[in-house]
């Protein structure tokens, strides 16, 4: 699951033309990855398409690990 989430984040960053020069892990802060609010909206849509879970439904997420936790609880 974490690999798929990281893959989606990398895809968004690549589409923006960002260099992927940092390792993305559970502790990664989404804002430190260079994701804008719009990118995070994109992330929620892509994750919902893949896992059928809206990660922003009940609150806010700030790390990759929090996304994984929400998915593990709901998938």
């Amino acid at each position: 699951m974490i690999n798929k989430v990281i893959e989606i984040i990398e895809e968004i960053l690549t589409d923006k033309g960002e260099k992927l020069d940092i390792d993305i892990c559970k502790d990664s802060q989404l804002r430190d990855l260079g994701l804008s609010s719009f990118d995070l909206a994109t992330l929620t849509v892509k994750i919902e398409d893949k896992f059928d879970v809206d990660i922003f439904e009940d609150g806010l997420v700030t790390t990759v690990g929090e996304i994984i936790s929400i998915l593990e609880e709901n998938v």
Binding site: L30, R31, L35, S36, S37, F38, L40, A41, T42, L43, T44, V45, K46, D49, D54, F56, D58, G59, L60, V61, T62
Partner: protein, 187 residues
């Protein structure tokens, strides 16, 4: 066009509570957000605002018919602020602005708040047109505003004056936030 300062407005998951109805803790909290360096650097007035001035400012808002400030509440938590300045009742236009709890900058909440705020402005209040000033260095804000179909009205050395009219916004008005995200992201 009527704006009731005592009403708590709602759009989607977002509630809008006028500063004049804030508790003292909420007044202090919103000032804490406003005085954070990351917020100040994107404001025209970059000075730290003292609590005493802030409280006097809020007191004056209760009789001000041109300037409105709301706290933005999501899931019971104060997340930031939106404001409308120089409200022109006759031409149904105003300047607007937004700032967030610095802890939630980059959390995606700003995108949702802007969507719901624009619904409030155009659908609930019935504004015809709104303007916003964005510094050119604020790439995130510029990127987001373009998604909402804001257009550049004036190009200054350090900032842009952006404009959005009700006709453009109404393209999105039939969607909720979730549908809106899909509409603009999955093309």
């Amino acid at each position: 066009m009527v704006i009731d300062k005592n009403e708590i407005y709602n759009s989607g998951n977002i509630y809008f509570k006028n500063y004049i109805n804030f508790s003292i803790d909420e007044k202090k909290k919103i000032l804490e957000f406003r005085n954070h360096v990351s917020v100040r650097e994107m404001m025209l007035n970059k000075n730290i605002i003292e609590l005493d001035s802030h409280l006097k400012f809020i007191d004056k808002l209760s009789v001000d018919t041109k300037n409105f400030y709301w706290g933005v509440i999501r899931k019971g938590k104060l997340m930031g602020s939106i404001y409308m300045n120089d409200v022109d009742d006759q031409q149904e236009k105003a300047f607007w602005g937004i700032f967030l709890d610095p802890n939630y900058v980059g959390s995606g909440i700003g995108f949702e708040i802007q969507f719901e705020t624009l619904n409030l402005v155009f659908k609930t209040f019935g504004f015809n047109k709104i303007f916003g000033v964005v510094f050119k260095k604020n790439k995130n804000a510029l990127s987001i505003q373009s998604k909402f179909l804001f257009k550049t009205k004036e190009n200054h050395e350090k900032h842009l004056l952006l404009e959005l009219n009700t006709k453009d916004w109404m393209i999105f008005s039939k969607f909720n936030f979730k549908e809106f995200k899909r509409k603009i992201i999955i093309k």
